[in-house]
């Protein structure tokens, strides 16, 4: 039955194709909700509201606590996290029935594992009063999970379908660079999270920004020069470059807001908004890098 379905997908039969479109839409929605979840998490950190609910998994011993002050941010974060958890589980189940690729079905299950691990780290953050390494791990696993969700959204596009081969051996310079950019941006998000959660100094993040900027622009220029004709590569490269430019401005803005409001008795709205957008655009930068790498490796497989 499944083989027949796979055959119909490959041959472009209309009914499975429609189902595949809906699977892709669902995967995209799940990835988008993950981005919203990252924004909600950033709001919690920026508002210093991570411990406004002292217990976990319940909130003040119940499902819905009094929604006052910082509790609003923390509880909304938990609510969206629960929604993303359900969406991820639904996607994994859907993939088991609808996707013929074994590695894709496994990726769906991996996503569920990641969301469970992420929830556990969130709980540990609350119960152990935000140890820097736990909070940093929580922030970074969120980015890794977002990458997995974005990847699944890419893999479920009808266009990707029958051309799912990915080959790492014999990678060209641009492909190697794209992989390096993914690792570098992820590393930069790690040190950024380390700084935000008071585990690392600011200099790590500033140095990382210089390195990432160099790698990203090198990769974008190469991709546009040598790989622009490959499907989707040019838009992905431009998106990556645009995200990075935006990040540089927002990074400067975050630092400026932090210094300007250093003596403020509480997190000030401008600081909160700028840092939250900085985190969200950081996630989009990583997602753009991942998509570019996937597209480049996909086109390599087509040759």
């Amino acid at each position: 039955m499944q083989t027949a379905q796979l055959h119909m997908t490959m041959t472009g039969a209309s009914e499975p194709r429609t189902a595949r479109v809906w699977l892709h839409r669902y995967a995209t929605l799940s990835a988008f909700c993950t981005l919203v979840l990252i924004c909600a998490g950033a709001l919690v950190t920026s508002n210093d509201a991570g411990l406004s609910i002292p217990d976990w998994p319940l909130s003040y011993g119940r499902l819905v606590p009094p929604l006052i002050g910082g509790i609003r941010y923390e509880w909304t974060h938990r609510l969206i996290a629960g929604t993303v958890g359900c969406l991820t589980l639904g996607l994994a189940v859907w993939l088991q029935f609808a996707d013929p690729r074994r590695w894709m079905r496994r990726l769906g299950i991996t996503a569920v594992g990641l969301v469970v691990a992420q929830a556990t780290l969130g709980g540990l953050t609350v119960l152990f009063f935000q140890p820097p390494w736990v909070s940093t791990a929580h922030a970074c696993l969120a980015q890794a999970f977002f990458c997995v969700m974005v990847s699944m959204a890419v893999f479920t596009t009808p266009e990707w379908g029958s051309r799912a081969g990915i080959r790492f051996s014999g990678a060209r310079t641009t492909e190697k660079l794209a992989m390096t950019v993914v690792a570098a941006v992820f590393l930069q998000l790690l040190v950024g999270a380390g700084y935000r959660h008071k585990g690392l100094g600011m200099n790590w993040h500033l140095a990382g920004a210089v390195i990432v900027t160099g790698f990203v622009f090198w990769t974008v220029v190469r991709a546009l020069r040598y790989n622009a004709t490959e499907s989707g590569v040019a838009p992905a490269a431009i998106a990556l470059g645009a995200c990075l430019l935006g990040q540089l401005f927002l990074g400067g803005g975050s630092l400026g807001a932090k210094l300007y409001y250093a003596d403020a008795p509480q997190p000030m709205p401008i600081f909160v908004y700028v840092t939250t957008v900085h985190v969200a655009l950081g996630a989009l930068t990583l997602a753009s890098a991942v998509v570019l790498a996937l597209l480049l490796f996909r086109s390599e497989a087509q040759r």
Partner: protein, 271 residues
């Protein structure tokens, strides 16, 4: 099959970086803690004092140290607290500034912790008062700075109509974070002396901050609304008296006190 293996590699690379950074963050934190936990000789003496059996203060024969905390120079520009998130508290204040620096009408400083930093020769003393009170009123802590003798009872009350959470962030004592609804009273204690003072915050209302200094003796005082302080019952001897303010840091003075006599020690902080 080849695809599956390649994907493991793809996912593996960021995870390796992730593990490395988590390790780096963990190590850097440990180093920080080690540096903070590495006491000099004076701190070792304090630690030994904390373990020695505490003796009662001889109030009848003890000396008194009094003084005033003055402030000179430019007054700091303090940001206003924005209590919009809690209307019941916002209604109780009118543009209240940050409590980081509180300058009294007579030009003196409030909430400066004055304490005996050195000279007690490793002795621990019992508290003079049996308990201290910390109140949450109008979404502010009252007092903003408080001193305790280790294991002295601290009564924490919530006079507000809203819920607070009380979250001390000690380096030596046990950390805790508990919610407190309107009208509740909590009884807490810190079993070990701890300096610098423990920051206390409310994560629901992030402008709510205060400090608790925990000592192994009762020879400390916090300057009041007139900028004065009084330390009573100090055994005769030579001491280092320190005055700590959360923004301007710590100043010290050497002083020799005699039995039943009052000695004046003033401090001046510059803006």
């Amino acid at each position: 099959m080849e695809t599956s293996m390649n994907w493991k590699k793809l996912l593996g690379l960021p995870l390796v970086f992730f593990a490395l950074i988590v390790l780096a963050v963990g190590c850097s934190k440990k180093e920080t803690e080690k540096a903070e936990d590495n006491p000099d000789d004076e701190d070792n003496t304090e630690a030994a004092a904390a373990n020695a059996p505490a003796v009662a203060v001889d109030m009848a024969n003890g000396a008194t140290v009094t003084g005033k905390i003055t402030f000179t120079g430019a007054k700091p520009t303090l940001n206003k607290i924005q209590m919009d998130a809690e209307p019941s508290c916002a209604a109780m204040h009118n543009n209240i500034p940050s409590q980081e620096v509180v300058i009294n009408d007579n030009g003196t400083l409030r909430y400066v912790m004055v304490y005996v930093k050195d000279g007690l020769n490793g002795k621990s003393y019992k508290p003079i008062e049996q308990k201290e009170n910390l109140d949450q009123k109008g979404c502010l802590y009252e007092p903003h700075v408080i001193g305790l003798v280790n294991s002295e009872e601290l009564d924490i009350s919530n006079d507000d109509k809203t819920t607070h959470n009380i979250h001390p962030q000690p380096k030596i004592n046990r950390e805790w974070n508990e919610s407190q609804s309107s009208g509740d009273v909590k009884k807490k204690e810190f079993t070990q002396s701890e300096w610098p003072p423990i920051p206390v915050k409310c994560n629901i209302h992030p402008w709510m901050k205060m400090y608790i200094g925990v000592f192994n003796h009762p020879f400390f005082a916090v300057s009041g609304a007139d900028g004065t302080f009084t330390i009573k019952g100090l055994p005769p001897g030579t001491y280092t008296i320190a005055a700590w303010q959360e923004k301007y840091g710590e100043q010290t003075q050497k002083v020799t006190v005699k039995s039943k006599e009052e000695t004046k020690v003033d401090f001046n902080f510059k803006g």
